[in-house]
Amino acid sequence: MTAYDVHELMVTRVAAEVDEDGVTVMGSFTPLAYASYMLAKLTHAPRAYLAGFDAVGMSPIQLSFTGAEAAAYKGAVCRWGMLTEINSIHLSNHGGVEAVSSAQFDGDGAINLSTIGPFDKPKVRLPGGAGAAEVIKMYRKMIAYFGNHSSRTLVDKVEFVTGTRWKVGAESRRQAGLQPGPIIVVTNLAVLVKDEDDQPFRIESVHPGVDPQVVVDNTGFALDVPSDVPVTAEPTAKQLELLRTKIDPFGTVKFDFLSGKERLQYLESILDAEWKRAEATVR
């Protein structure tokens, strides 16, 4: 077993959900989600149909902060704008897997990307949800990922519902004209799943070395804890090699797992490497 970091396990776990049914719009460069899709595309789901930025039908790309957008266009078969993507993918039930993160997330599958504190006079004005308010309900699978599993993020009820899965169970989703599919939460500690409206999330697996009780203690909503909790599959050597040498050689995914001063320095070092590679071609 090759040694790995937890963000690498999260990437492989999210990648495992990516299949070749439907289309996924990734939008802006979010390293963990991008890495997961690229890993899937290079392994078990080569024909996963992806759109990044306005590049539709992308080839897999190498991740970088300054190059991901340009790379997305290089192997793509089509160009659309946001509105065409909305109408041709999201709202027409062609959406496959939607991966989001948020400031708060609760046991109903609701996300808060709007506000901490009163909406009109917020303590923290969050960035807003972009299309998440509508999209997380439309896609077949919703994946929420969090690098820091904490009851401050995984809360009992979000302070403000920016968007929500709305219908969760297969039958209630079908009745609402939505594709049936689960909510899957992937964190640095565990994987949680919810696939019925009136049942809580259950712990699907804990990562190696994590006690299920630690997961419960750090989750603000009720969890169904099976008597025998499986352990999350670890990344394979092949997956790690693909991630480290092909998909994310600059290490963009790790960035979101750092904080404070370390975070800024890490970003500077990645950007320095990206600059030098480009500069070498013109100097």
Partner: protein, 303 residues
């Protein structure tokens, strides 16, 4: 109705005169891609006030406008500096209560723009059911039913900006505008607005447009003014010309939440766009272009 005729080319310096104080202005681009930043800087230089900015996914464009006290209202579905954090000046002005705002859902804003662009007072869609946002804005979101099936749907009201400002790859004097990479919400903002200003990397003759007709996302009959602004999206990207300038963005983010932002804005105000380019791009522009060239796809899939 617009006139498709005549030479619409004006200098960037004329922009301030085309956007009155208090106007609602949709700004194109999304994420760190293709915001009309030369126009943003010029509106600051022109001393515009009380603009109602409309953005789908804004970033440094909105934060800089907020820092320079240009905004009277902000309609958005997201504003973020992504890896560089939340947008400090948008946060500050909203949290202090000095910037009135409207938070749209992303699809709602785009479909509202679409409605206006196709002559509809509203459009229905399967909306953000369960979200707390629609109830806050009954003048924007309502419920409607399919007259055939009875299905309950969300109606979103048409959104008509006074002005749309978008940044294109190239454009001719008639206003026929082309994009190759990210166009985001640009075309639908333009179709919805009363007046459209296109800034572009390069003004070209009509035959260049005719040679690449599939890249013309916005025909000239929509466009009122064409402005040549090379590196006009900087420090955001314009693919395939140049990548986002992450270093300038990091510099901005470092100052934006501090008192240093006052000097940052003052410098923008005091220099021309030529000065700006000379200051931030000398010895760097070619590397920003090279970042596009070196970006890699990976072999082994789509075989």
């Amino acid at each position: 109705m617009t006139s498709p005729s005549a030479d619409k080319v004006v200098p960037l310096q004329a922009l301030g005169g085309l956007v009155p104080d208090g106007a609602s202005v949709a700004f194109g681009g999304g994420w760190f891609a293709n915001h009309p930043m030369a126009a943003v800087r010029q509106l600051i230089r022109a001393g515009r006030k009380d603009l109602h900015a409309i953005t789908v996914v804004g970033s440094v464009d909105m934060d800089l406008l907020a820092a320079a006290d240009v905004l009277g209202h902000l309609s958005f579905s997201m504003v973020t500096l992504e890896a560089f954090g939340l947008a400090p000046n948008v946060r500050r002005t909203i949290e202090s209560g000095t910037l009135p705002f409207t938070e749209y859902t992303g699809l709602g804003m785009l479909i509202g723009l679409e409605a206006q662009g196709r002559g509809m007072p509203f459009l229905p869609y399967r909306g953000p059911f369960g979200s707390d946002l629609p109830a806050r804005y009954p003048e924007i979101y309502a419920t409607t039913n399919c007259p055939f099936t009875g299905e309950e749907l969300t109606a979103v009201r048409a959104l008509q900006p006074d002005v749309a400002i978008v940044h294109a790859l190239r454009c001719d004097a008639e206003g026929n505008a082309q994009w190759d990479g990210t166009s985001g919400p640009d075309v639908d903002m333009a179709k919805a607005a009363k007046r459209v200003i296109v800034t572009c990397e390069e003004i070209v003759d009509r035959p260049v447009i005719v040679e690449n007709p599939h890249m013309t996302k916005l025909p000239g009959y929509y466009v009122h003014a064409v402005i040549e602004a090379p590196f006009g999206a900087h420090p955001t990207s314009h693919i395939p010309r140049y990548a986002m300038d992450a270093w300038q963005l990091m510099d901005y983010a470092g100052q934006a939440g501090t008192d240093a932002i006052t000097d940052y804005v003052a410098r923008i105000r005091s220099e021309s766009e030529d000065d700006y380019r000379a200051r931030v791009l000398t010895g760097r522009g070619d590397v920003l272009a090279a970042l596009v060239d070196v970006a890699e796809t990976l072999e082994g899939a789509n075989l």
